[in-house]
């Protein structure tokens, strides 16, 4: 086995056998799944709770409109006065009381209707009641105008503009957000991986320094081999952890949903509800929303997934190598972890910047000047470029020259940074005792 392979193997095993690593690897999916299940379960519980609302209707209108359904029950109070109605609402433990006074017109009655409750009423209950009023008021107005309900529904269709690219492909609205989100997930993964495993590389270097084994090892291998072996071995451990997370998380999630009998679509239902509510007349169109979802799914599979994965790997490998060699150099420069703070902040800064610029700028304009700039700049390009890439390469997507420039810049930076980091590493691992300054690090580059 070559020396590099030996080092990679040792680093990998040392990491994978580490107790806290094992605990993290197997506990995190359980915790994550537990969280998801808990949220889903609570959402379901919340929805299952039936609210009962007292209705004290003194008017001649709305007598047929407040009917109990699965979510809300209406108790009609009759032959009483307002105070007595409030009292009985309280004693019966109803959620609230809707009072419609006796007026000459439906408009007047609606205007003076009140909803009384112990605490501020929830938006969803109010929305439901408001919808009833809206509908009845509209019907009344239509009747005055002499328009039938069928005629109104015919003209009242919601309008959505159809979008298409110049090449003639039809688009769904919001698809660019979807695309950016997918890129965003990739970018976020890269950032998390760099921060977590770059930290591991750094601590591993510090451990070798403090245990004083470093000089024994670099009398057998070149410091550069040791550094690269460490970086690669740690990355393999990270990939192992990710694979375990994805597989075990998926299995656990399936088991959990089966055991608790939770419909996974509960988690998406909020978006559906809001979209139904905005439809005029409160007419829900489940068939169409399914079609919409299907459209998004179709669109998702139409994405150049293979291309995305390939570029994800390219940017991931280069980005990780650049950042983790900086982490290794920091680990070599200091004697203990508390001294690393001043050096770590400048590394995390571009990563954070990339994520925020990505979310705010790339989402709204994937090919604007800021998005282009950050996707060329080597320290942010692995994240920002991945957010732009789901739009494809070439026409309508990332221009080819930008992609090539970005990767070339990244490779050049990778070579430069690894070279510089290796120099700092080589000197740093043999320096003990004092906390170095940036000035000293700069001096080490010239030794």
């Amino acid at each position: 086995m070559s020396k590099l392979a030996l080092i990679i193997k040792r680093e990998y095993l040392a990491k994978v056998r580490n107790k806290s690593f094992i605990i993290m690897t197997f506990l995190s999916p359980i915790l994550m799944v537990g969280m998801v299940v808990l949220i889903a379960y609570l959402t379901q519980l919340n929805d299952n709770e039936k609210r009962i609302i007292g209705v004290f209707n003194e008017s001649i209108y709305f007598s047929e409109d407040f009917k109990s359904d699965d979510e809300t029950g209406y108790a009609h109070l009759k032959n009483t006065n307002l105070n007595a109605a409030i009292d009985s609402t309280l004693t019966m433990g109803y959620y609230g009381l809707l009072h419609i006074p006796s007026k000459t017109s439906i408009e007047e009655a609606s205007k003076h209707a009140y909803f009384y409750s112990k605490e501020a009423a929830s938006l969803s209950s109010l929305k439901e009641i408001e919808l009833v009023f809206e509908e009845r008021l509209r019907d009344e107005k239509l009747r005055q105008l002499g328009v039938s309900k069928q005629e109104f529904e015919h003209i009242g269709d919601a309008f959505e503009i159809n979008t298409s690219t110049f090449s003639g492909e039809e688009n769904l609205k919001g698809i660019s957000e979807l695309k950016a989100s997918i890129g965003g997930i990739f970018g976020y993964l890269i950032m998390m991986f760099i921060i977590i495993y770059g930290g591991f590389v750094m601590r591993s270097v510090i451990e070798e320094k403090t245990s004083r084994i470093i000089e024994v090892i670099i009398s057998s291998v070149r410091p550069f081999q040791l550094m690269m072996g460490k970086i690669i071995g740690t990355a393999f451990a990270g990939v192992t952890q990710f694979i375990i997370w994805i597989i075990s998380g998926g299995i656990l999630l399936l088991i959990a949903f089966a055991v608790f009998d939770i419909d996974p679509s509960v988690l998406n239902s909020t978006t559906e509800i809001t979209s139904t509510m905005n439809l005029p007349g409160g007419v829900s169109m489940p068939a169409e929303s399914n079609e919409l979802l299907g459209g998004y799914l179709q669109e998702f599979f139409k994405l150049p997934l293979l291309m995305l994965v390939i570029f994800f790997l390219i940017y991931f490998v280069l980005g990780y190598l650049i950042y983790s060699s900086i982490y290794a150099a920091i680990g070599a420069a200091v004697d203990n972890e508390t001294d690393t703070q001043q050096f770590i902040f400048p590394i995390i800064l571009p990563l954070m910047l990339a994520i925020y610029v990505g979310f705010f700028s790339v989402f709204s304009n994937p090919h604007g000047p800021i998005a282009v700039g950050f996707s060329l700049f080597p320290l942010t390009s692995p994240i920002v470029m991945l957010m732009r890439l789901p739009n494809g390469i070439g026409e309508g997507g990332v221009p080819l020259w930008q992609l090539i420039t970005s990767i070339l810049l990244l490779i050049a930076t990778f070579i430069a940074i690894v070279w510089l980091a290796a120099k700092i590493y080589r000197i740093g691992i043999l320096m003990y005792g004092k906390k170095p300054t940036y000035k000293e690090l700069f001096k080490w580059l010239r030794y």
């Binding site: 086995m1 020396k3 030996l6 080092i7 040792r10 040392a14 580490n18 451990e207 070798e208 245990s211 004083r212 084994i213 000089e215 024994v216 090892i217 670099i218 009398s219 057998s220 291998v221 070149r222 410091p223 080589r426 043999l430 003990y432 001096k443 010239r446 030794y447």
Partner: protein, 309 residues
């Protein structure tokens, strides 16, 4: 070639600081070569250059007649002064790893490790973690790992630190045995008594420069200064001492009136003791006459101080 290692005008700067200034050494095969010098003299820098951990700015190193190159790493064994082991790794696994890094095959490394573990009486440590071992135990492992790949040249930097006297002796015997088996050894230390015991040759490095080197016995001859320790039995010392003091350089004269014994140190103009004995000429019974051979420590201190003046 009779030299395992030759350094020729090796120079190394760290920024404005010169760590080594044109240091030349010739280290003969099959001997123990003491590399001496005060703290910060440049010994460790030189050793690191030999191990190709750092590279000289100027000058060259030759290993067994060839310019030093990457392949030589597996022919050199190095026990650094700052040494340690992975704390959470098992002893056997760790020793195997370090041996493999030196180019040994796993199978062969295992066989040799078994031999050494038995030889140093630590056979049952294989599955222990290093953090469970005492400092002395860990040092033994480190020693084994250094010599396991049977290098032609061994470099020990303060090898006895961390050992109790019994184990230090075991290691000393092992070092002598390695020399008997034909290994060349560079030995860097501050402990002068071990220099006397072990070294055949020495080099003294001070303030980045080599100020002295050669065979230890030659150097001692060179540094002895016709100093003698003299003891004699005599009833009344005053008169004789008076006469001696006017004619010779006498130091540390002591007369024990009860034992009637006079002891002193004397520096003669030449190495011929007859002039002293002729001078005394039966005035006293000389019962002790020994030439003072300077110790390595004396030479070390004397040379360094001279240089500092």
């Amino acid at each position: 070639m009779n030299n395992i290692l030759v350094a020729s005008e090796v120079t190394k700067h760290f920024g404005a600081h010169t760590a080594l200034n044109k240091v030349s050494l010739e280290i003969p095969k099959n001997c123990i070569y003491g590399l001496l010098g005060p703290n910060g003299a440049g010994k460790t820098t030189l050793i690191r250059i030999i191990n190709q951990i750092i590279f000289p700015d100027d000058g060259a190193i030759f290993f067994d007649g060839q310019a030093l190159k990457g392949d030589h790493i597996s022919l050199i064994g190095y026990l650094p002064e700052e040494r340690g082991l992975y704390k959470s790794m098992k002893v056997g696994e760790q020793a195997l790893y370090l041996a493999q890094l030196k180019g040994l095959h796993k199978h062969e490394a295992k066989k040799r490790l078994k031999y050494w573990f038995e030889r140093l009486d630590i056979g049952d440590w294989w599955n222990k973690k290093v953090q469970e071992l005492s400092k002395g135990m860990a040092q033994k492992i480190q020693f084994i790992v250094t010599v396991l790949h049977q290098p032609k040249l061994l470099i020990f930097d303060e090898p006895f630190s961390g050992f109790d006297p019994i184990n230090a002796n075991i290691i000393k015997e092992e070092i002598l045995q390695l020399k008997a088996n034909g290994t060349s050894i560079i030995f860097s230390t501050h402990r002068m008594e071990s220099v006397e015991e072990l070294c055949d040759h020495i080099a003294l490095i001070h303030q980045s420069e080599k100020i002295l080197d050669g065979k230890l016995s030659d150097i001692k001859k060179q540094y002895k200064n016709n100093n003698f320790e003299v003891g004699m039995a005599i009833d009344q010392a005053d008169d004789l001492l008076q006469e001696l003091t006017t004619n010779f350089e006498i130091r540390e004269a002591q007369f024990d009136a009860n034992e009637k014994q006079l002891n002193f140190k004397i520096q003669l103009p030449t190495n011929d003791t007859r002039q002293l004995l002729d001078f005394i000429d039966g005035k006293a019974n000389v019962n002790q006459l020994v030439e003072i051979i300077p110790s390595a420590s004396d030479i070390f201190i004397q040379t360094v101080q001279q240089k500092d003046l």
